[in-house]
Symmetry: C2
């Protein structure tokens, strides 16, 4: 427990502390293990304190979701570019699924419409920017215009391309690989077999 037992009455940067604490809780105990009071106690603060910085639980979790999208975007941006459209698109898809597999709690969070304010402009912006690189890879492959940052609009082809990785990611965090493969590492087996299969079928090199 960080606890962060502070000396002064005021915390100093409670807003950030709550986001970090919430992320840690979700990472270790999953979204279902998260409670607002737990995040407050983790930050060494009373249960009512968070309401002064966020619009309820949904507001705090939306902030965590934004942070998660920023991390996802950073990881996708860090992936190498080969210059070959099909190869790059496959790399992005694999990165997307890998992120979900390694961060199941946070990935579940960003898909929970009931826990997050999907109408929040900052959230919409973050979710779009995280997939910009992915969108560009898809655009390059399909020979279409890249996604428009200002209008936040993806082309149908890009939406289609993303659905594949999105479906694989969900199947991973729903634990389907364990039901499908009786191996020591079901998730690894699933990614190594299913992903190349469908991506090769969709976008042959």
């Amino acid at each position: 427990m960080s606890g962060a037992a502070r000396d002064s009455y005021h915390h100093g940067d409670l807003k950030t502390a709550l986001i970090v604490a919430s992320e840690e809780i979700i990472r270790t105990e999953g979204v279902e293990g998260f409670t607002l009071r737990k995040a407050a106690k983790f930050s060494g603060v009373s249960p009512g304190a968070p309401s002064h910085h966020f619009n309820g639980t949904k507001g705090l979790l939306t902030a965590v979701a934004i942070r998660t999208f920023e991390k996802l975007g950073a990881e996708l941006n860090a992936l190498p570019s080969s210059g070959r459209p099909a190869q790059d698109l496959r790399t992005q898809a694999l990165g997307y699924v890998t992120f979900a597999a390694l961060n199941p709690g946070l990935f579940r969070l960003i898909c929970r419409v009931d826990l997050i304010d999907f109408k929040d402009p900052a959230f919409m912006q973050a979710s779009f920017e995280a997939l910009t690189r992915y969108g560009h890879a898809a655009a390059a492959y399909f020979g279409q215009e890249p996604p428009d940052v200002n209008k936040r609009v993806f082309r149908p082809h890009m939406a289609s391309a993303m659905a594949t990785a999105h479906g694989l990611a969900h199947m991973v965090i729903e634990g389907r690989p364990a039901l499908l493969f009786d191996t020591p590492d079901p998730v690894g087996t699933f990614i190594e077999t299913a992903l190349p299969l469908i991506l090769l079928a969709t976008w042959p090199d």
Copy 2:
């Protein structure tokens, strides 16, 4: 409100009544609108009564999930078979996505690992049987053995084929179409454009 104000002290078939009530609540108010007490009141029964028939909330929701998979399986089985593998596979995928679009609350339920007992043998059996037809269509297309009902094992190719529809379904119930398409019927637009695109790309006729 059905209320189902009964005359006798004993309900008669509370187990079924609770499942039906829960399904109705989820259908109208979503998974997040469901509470065990609400289902009890809906069935005209005290808050403690359900515990005599189900292993807590998770037990009841697992029963609802089983019922949902049975309906999904029935709908997929009712879809026509053309004899052409690619066509049939596409029909199954479209049926899968359509079910999710028309039953968003119930589809969310069957993907909520935290609300359902995924280890329940009856649930595992139901989830497998619902996708048997889909698996057969994929097997026919890929020229592989059909799924084994006894061992409950899908082939990697089938898992891949299902991921596409699964991803589209999730994007639909997560409200992505509304963010992607500025039309009167975003979901319809999404299905009509994105699904054919990716399925045509994956399994050309």
